[in-house]
Each structure stands twice: as structure tokens, then as C-alpha cells.
């Protein structure tokens, strides 16, 4: 009988640790937020939240330092808008092609290709963007440097596309077969069915795909740091160097003094990024659930 008890004890331990592991994901999200607050909060003893978010100058090492992140927010926004303008139409079109038009074999191959694109490390994409796209844009527009917001947008568009394509493709595939059959039976062409029926039914899922793609672009760090030229000024156009929120953290953390105001300001930027991506992903998840139903 003893072995039965031992087995029960063992199973009790295992089941409790499984439950605990489930809860860990929630704990990690809370811990991330907590530690960002812990290190970043001290900034707001000497600086108001409004000055931080809407201050027009970011001079972290001048005396006195200025910690206004508006130029960085606008930099991120500009690069993201550009990337979305390129990647959303192309990504949705590719998803429609893969899900509705490509024959099975080609479809599998294309999906594998897109998965590989998603897997390329961002530092490699940044490296290629810096060395090939940068000089090309410099010559094309005849500007002093090729490392601009536009270069960042094009580079990031390629990083957003795998996300957009694969999630949109899932949403399109999930549209019930009867919709297509009904449309074809009424004499619609395949394209009319795809565009007017299937694409419309998959709309919530496609919206989620776009949001997740944008979330990826806002959070992207290495590639954007390597190709946008890193000038922390309020941008006025696409053909200028800009500096994003993420790149600022990555580029300046090494030179900040631990516990100092600059250090705290970089963590405070982390808080801003965390909140932005939390909102984007939460809303995208809502759309995904709606599209599944």
C-alpha cells in the first residue's frame, strides 16, 4: 500500500508544479512591469510625466539634462507608419494568394519561405539594410546620408510581413467553405469570391494580423538602430535620420550610470514601450477571438 501513497504524493507534487508553471507566465508579465517601474520610477521624482512624454528635446547627458521623448515617439511613429504603408497591402495580398490561389505544393513552399524570412535575425536584416539599401537610397534621392526614416521603414516592412502574412493567412483559411461554394454557385468568379466574400469574412483576423505586424515593428530594435541614422530630433520628413524609442534604449544604456537619471529615463522609455505593445497585443487578441467565433 505504501507504494500507492508514494505514487499519490509524487503525482500531487507533479500536478502542483504544473499548475505553478501555468501561473508563471502571468508572474513574468507582472515582474517585467514591476522591474521597469522599480528602475524607471525615480525619474518622475524630478520630472513630470507630461514633460517626459511631450518634452521636445532629448539631451540626456547635457547639464542640466533634458528628458523629453517626443522626438523619439515621433521617430518610432514615422518609421512605423512608413513600414505599415508598405507591408500591409503587400502582406494582405500575399496572404490572399497563398490561402486562396496557390496550389497545395506551392502553398507549402511559400509558407516555409515566409517562416524563414521571419527567422532571419534582426541584426542580419539591419546589416543588409545598412550596407545595400542605405547607399541605394542615398544615391536615389541624392541626400547626404542613406540612413533615414525611409530606410528604416523599408527594412522594417520586411520584418512585419511574415507576421502579417501568416496570421492573415490563418484567418482566411478559417473562413467556412460554404461561403466560397455559395458564391461560386451563384456564378461569381474565383477572384470575386476571394475579394468580396472571403476577404470580407476574414476582416477581423486580418485586422489582428496588421496590429501584430505593427506591434512587431514598434518593438524592433537592432535593425532599426542600424539603418535609421540615430538623430534624436523631431523629424520633419522621411528622408532624414531619426531615432526610435527602442534604439535609444539599446544605444545609450551602455553609457548611462546605473541608478542615475539617464538610466531611469531609459527604463521609463521601456515602460512606455511595454504599455504600447501591451495594448496592441491585447486588442489584437480580442479581434482574433472574434474571428474564431
Amino acid at each position: 500500500m505504501k507504494s500507492v501513497q508514494a505514487r499519490k504524493l509524487k503525482e500531487w507534487v507533479i500536478e502542483k508544479s504544473i499548475l505553478l508553471s501555468g501561473i508563471f507566465s502571468v508572474v513574468f508579465v507582472l515582474l517585467i512591469f514591476l522591474f521597469l517601474l522599480r528602475e524607471g520610477f525615480s525619474l518622475f521624482r524630478g520630472e513630470s510625466v507630461i514633460d517626459f512624454l511631450f518634452g521636445k528635446s532629448w539631451y540626456p547627458i547635457s547639464d542640466p539634462p533634458r528628458f523629453g521623448i517626443l522626438p523619439l515617439i515621433l521617430g518610432s511613429l514615422l518609421v512605423t507608419l512608413g513600414a505599415a504603408a508598405i507591408s500591409v497591402p503587400i502582406g494582405i495580398a500575399a496572404a490572399l494568394f497563398i490561402a486562396e490561389i496557390a496550389p497545395l505544393r506551392l502553398r507549402e513552399a511559400l509558407k516555409a519561405g515566409i517562416e524563414l524570412l521571419a527567422a532571419i535575425p534582426s541584426v542580419v536584416i539591419g546589416f543588409i539594410g545598412m550596407i545595400t539599401l542605405g547607399p541605394w537610397i542615398k544615391n536615389l534621392f541624392n541626400i547626404p546620408t542613406g540612413l533615414t526614416a525611409l530606410t528604416g521603414s523599408v527594412t522594417l516592412a520586411f520584418m512585419a510581413m511574415p507576421t502579417i502574412v501568416s496570421i492573415a493567412e490563418d484567418a482566411i483559411t478559417a473562413v467556412p467553405r460554404q461561403y466560397r461554394e455559395a458564391a461560386i454557385a451563384m456564378g461569381a468568379t474565383q477572384w470575386q469570391t476571394t475579394w468580396r466574400i472571403v476577404a470580407r469574412a476574414a476582416r477581423p483576423g486580418m485586422l489582428a494580423a496588421v496590429m501584430l505586424g505593427i506591434g512587431r515593428v514598434i518593438g524592433e530594435t537592432m535593425a532599426v538602430m542600424m539603418v535609421t541614422g540615430n538623430a534624436a530630433v523631431i523629424p520633419t520628413g522621411f528622408l532624414q535620420p531619426v531615432r526610435t524609442l527602442t534604439a535609444t534604449i539599446a544605444a545609450e544604456m551602455g553609457e548611462s550610470v546605473q541608478g542615475g537619471p539617464h538610466y531611469a529615463a531609459l527604463f521609463a522609455i521601456g515602460i512606455v514601450l511595454f504599455i504600447i505593445t501591451f495594448l496592441i497585443n491585447g486588442v489584437a487578441d480580442l479581434f482574433l477571438h472574434r474571428s474564431r467565433r
Binding site: S21, L36, A119, M130
Partner: protein
Amino acid sequence: MDPRRSQKIAFAVLLLATLLVVLPVVVILAIIVAKGASAISWDFLFSMPREGMSAGGILPAILGTLYLVLGAVIFAVPLGVMAAIYLVEYSSDNRMSRLVKLAIVNLAGVPSVVYGLFGLGIFVTFFGFGASILSGSLTLGIMILPVIITSSREALESVPKHFRTVSLSLGASRWQTIRHSVLPHALPGILTGMILGLGRAAGETAPILFTVAAFYLPRLPQSVFDQSMALPYHLYVISTQVPGIAENVRYGTALVLLTLVLLLNLAAIVLRSRFRRKKKW
């Protein structure tokens, strides 16, 4: 317009868009192989960097990345698989499991540089591990957790319900059922998730910037509390921070990193498609 003609035009546009998405993979690969292959040699892969990284090899960066990735997987796989078992086998669709799922979605969306900040705050500073392989591995481990949980969940969910009911009806306990009737069939899927996690961890730079990465450290790490070089950070350093590095050394480093990451992902894709084809239920 004639609907058949507009269909032709539309399909051509969609095909073009698809090519625009897929071709860059081919172009990037071609450029890096063409310009980097000449740098690859025994000496480049297996010797220490010399003269401020402008000569010698990249062994410490390769080994550093291997250590980091192994550490991340050792930490994340048990935790991730157990979390997936919780979601699929134990939780009913209640508020708790909704919360866990939402947390996983958000973990997947947290920017990589924010993981870096978190690792700096908790492992490097709060726990006092310093900038070390341990801090970097733990940071990367938390970052790949969503990848592992998601694939393991899919793998567990693909095991048919009746495998469980049969086992339970024979008097097996819940855990015995999971251990002997569910997990063995989900194993290939879990393995796929693990390999994808490996690939993701190997390529990330931002999370290791402040938690482990050394700019130039021409010796091998002795313990998990040592700093280390790492391939992605090394590529960043030699392509933006240090002038005068030969072009083929940069491309060669990119080639090594890309080969490592793509091979891992290719392995995962092949494993998954085999697994799907083999399933008979």
C-alpha cells in the same frame, strides 16, 4: 470590365506581392553567401579574434551563443511544456486560463529590448548575477517561453480526446494518462517548439546587450558567471562600432549566424511536416 479579365489582373498583382515577400529571403541569402563565403575557414570558425577583431576567428562568439542558447532552453523547456500541460490538460476554460493565455500573448509581444531592460533589472542587478551567461540565458529563456508554450499546446491539443478517455477508463490516474498516453504522441511537436525557441534565442541581440554581451573578449568563458561574446552582438559590433574591419569578415560572421539560425528553423519545419504526415488518427 470582363470579370475573367479582372481576375487575371488581380491574380497577377497578388502573385507579384507574394514574390515581394519571399524574394528578399533569397536575395539576402544570396548576397551574404556570395560575399561571406570567402571568409569561412577552419581558422575563422575555431580560433580567437586578434588585433581588435580585425583578424583571427570568431570562436568565442560562436561558443558564447551556444552556451546562451543551451541555457535558455534548459530553463524554458520544462517550464513551457508544463505550462502547456496546464492549459491543455488541467485548466477548464475559466478566468484563470484566460488570464494565462493573455499573459502568453503579451510575453510574445514584449519588445526584445524591453526583455533586455528586465534582465538588467532583475538578474544582473537585483539577484546580483552581474553581466553573465546566467543572466543572459535566463533573459532569453523568458523571451522564448511563449514560442515553446504555443507549440507544445498545439502538439498536446492534436492528440485525440479518446486516447485520454481510454486510458482513464482503464483506471490510470490523470498524470499517468498524460505521461503515457498523451506526451509520447505530442513529443515531436514539443521538439519542434524547442528547436524554434533555440533559433529565436540564437539570433536575438537586444536582450543580451546589457545582460551578458562583451564587446571584445578573446578568451573562452570559464563559468556561468562570466561575460561572453555572442554571434549577433559581434556582428552588430563589427559592422557599426569598429571601423576598418574587412568586408568579408563582416559578411562571414553574418553567414555563420544566418546558417545557424536557418538550419535550426529548417529542421523544425521538416520535423513538423513529417510529424503531420505520419499521424494516422
